[in-house]
């Protein structure tokens, strides 16, 4: 049973760890990629014949390393490893060899590989493209499709990004606790970017980019397996799972976005929500709250409400207040105002967002939310103005269409009052 589908799955699964270990050996991205490619080719040749190795990742690392070492004829300085044809379950030489592969370094290897992709000089889109290419092993064509650019343009972008990171700058020593925490934060932010790249897609792009959400979750789970006691990693993974659980309910038949309140909650993926809730439960035991855990907890409160009116807005308001303290940002305050409007009414929400006007004046969602609060407060004329401003700032046709629904409501209300 070593069919091609299985081999493909095993290689995909092994890629982040194998690439990460090979990068530690070669300290050079292109060499690591070449070695990994080489190992994959040999796997395709050997595995169907000898059966699958017990530890495909260790196999790929060893064979990749050997192949590269052979190629540069450095064998005298390295331990001679058995050729891959001899590595089979029968001999179990592999288990012993895997032992020699510094298993304990795996976790920091993977973290480092992801961290290298988060180079601060790289714009977010390049970080994402690089991570998808190097860590996930997506083809340039697949990545280009997700970003709606030509293959040649994406190839160039990735080449330039690779040149910039140079791979040599990240330390190859095992990181200390502070450095590890810093790497963690950068990597978590990057994974969230990958996720949002998929999550923010609408219309036709959903098909091309939806896979990025799954990929971000896969990498988050991988990191969590390597660092099982990191509460923020639990929080991030939970947040991604709960958000992604809604994907079947987020768009109507025309591909237009459906607001959380109006979504058919029976379409939410209960399995993903369940896993998200389980992770939040675990994270809470650590008593070390962080922004991802708080955001996951907010998402969880929405997920727990069977009907929109069951939503615990008081708790959501409080959680946003915590998030505001941890990560002050006008966008967080704007989100909090939505909860405040539910709990204390639209006037309180308007009061809360008033000071944000200067900073969020060019932000579509600010004017959309403000219009909705004004409408609730019965100030139709002001609401209309806010909605008009929102439409002028809309990034997509779907966003504009959404606001037009509100405007129609204003007009309908106006007609009612005048007749």
């Amino acid at each position: 049973m070593t069919d091609l589908a299985w081999i493909e799955g095993a290689i995909t699964a092994a890629r982040p760890q194998a690439m990460a270990a090979l990068l530690r050996y070669f300290r050079e991205m292109d060499a690591a990629e070449e070695a990994f490619q080489d190992a994959c080719l040999r796997a395709l040749k050997t595995w169907p014949k000898n059966g699958p190795p017990r530890d495909p990742t260790a196999w790929l690392i060893m064979v990749g390393r050997n192949a590269a070492i052979d190629a540069v004829r450095k064998s005298s300085r390295n331990t001679v490893l058995p050729p891959e044809e001899l590595l089979s379950d029968l001999e179990d030489a592999e288990a012993e060899a895997a032992e020699r592969l510094d298993g304990s370094h795996y976790r920091d290897d993977v973290l480092r590989l992801l961290f290298i992709c988060c180079h601060p000089d790289l714009p977010a889109t390049q970080q994402i493209a690089l991570a998808l290419r190097i860590v996930s092993g997506l083809s340039v064509r697949e990545i280009a499709r997700a970003f709606l650019v030509s293959e040649a343009a994406m190839e160039q972008r990735i080449t330039r990004a690779k040149a910039k990171i140079g791979a040599g700058e990240a330390s190859f020593e095992a990181p200390g606790p502070i450095e590890r925490a810093e790497r963690f934060a950068a990597v978590a932010a990057m994974l969230y970017l990958v996720f949002n790249e998929g999550y923010s897609a609408s219309g036709k792009a959903v098909e091309a980019r939806g896979g990025l959400c799954d990929e971000a979750i896969r990498l988050a789970r991988l990191l969590l397996r390597l660092f099982p006691a990191e509460p923020e990693m639990m929080g991030l993974t939970a947040l991604l799972l709960i958000q992604h659980a809604r994907s079947d309910a987020r768009f109507d038949a025309d591909g237009d976005a459906i607001l959380l309140e109006d979504q058919d909650r029976s379409l939410w993926n209960r399995k993903m929500i369940g896993e998200g809730l389980a992770l939040i439960d675990k994270a809470m035991l650590k008593r070390a709250p962080g922004p991802y855990q708080v955001q996951a907890a907010i998402a969880a409160l929405h997920a727990r409400a069977a009907k929109p009116e069951d939503t615990d807005w008081v708790e959501i308001d409080q959680l946003y207040a915590v998030l505001e303290r941890m990560q002050p940002s006008p966008v967080v305050t704007l989100n909090r105002a939505v909860a405040v409007a539910k709990v204390r009414g639209p006037e309180a929400a308007l009061e809360m967002i008033e000071p944000l006007g200067a900073r969020l004046d060019g932000y579509f969602h600010f004017h959309g939310a403000r219009g909705a609060f004004l409408l609730q407060a019965g100030r139709q004329a002001d609401a209309r103005q806010a909605f008009d401003r929102a439409i002028s700032l809309a990034n997509t046709a779907a966003e504009a269409a959404n606001i037009r629904q509100y405007l129609d409501r204003v007009s309908a209300d106006a007609k009612k009052t005048s007749s």
Binding site: D3, G9, D55, R225, P228, A278, L279
Partner: protein, 127 residues
């Protein structure tokens, strides 16, 4: 005689499955399960969440220690189990082979059950 069929596989491989592949496997497993069910040979079935959702309680000390992750770090992880009723090991192996054809890869541990209490759940219970 009751046997537990404990399902071990590499979790990171399963997590890398596409939705189509996953749906295909579940559909094929469903066919086997339905047949076993009709024959009255299938008891409780459980699919476990990924080990990242697991917590371990070390109770050999006081106070007990709560640890993150699964009890054992293994190359293949315990991902689910079946309880089946058959005359002997031959029958249990045959069932395991049928399930294995529907879901290749990994291993099944076939373990005779010493004590079984069906519990109070009825019907499928989700997360």
């Amino acid at each position: 005689m009751l046997y537990a069929i404990l399902c071990y596989n590499q979790e990171d491989v399963i997590c890398a499955w596409s939705k189509e592949h996953e749906d295909g496997v579940m559909q094929k497993l469903g066919v086997v399960q339905e047949r076993l069910s009709r024959e009255g040979r299938l008891g409780p079935v459980a699919r476990l969440m990924p080990t990242t959702a697991a917590t371990t309680l070390r109770k050999d000390r006081e106070p007990a220690l709560v640890l993150d992750g699964p009890f054992a770090e293994t190359k293949e992880q315990l991902l689910g189990f079946y309880v089946v009723d058959c005359d002997g090991l031959d029958g249990a192996l045959e069932i395991a082979k049928d399930l294995g054809k529907a879901n290749p890869g990994g291993s099944y541990e076939i373990r005779p059950i010493a004590l079984f209490q069906p519990g109070a759940f009825s019907g499928a219970v989700g997360a």
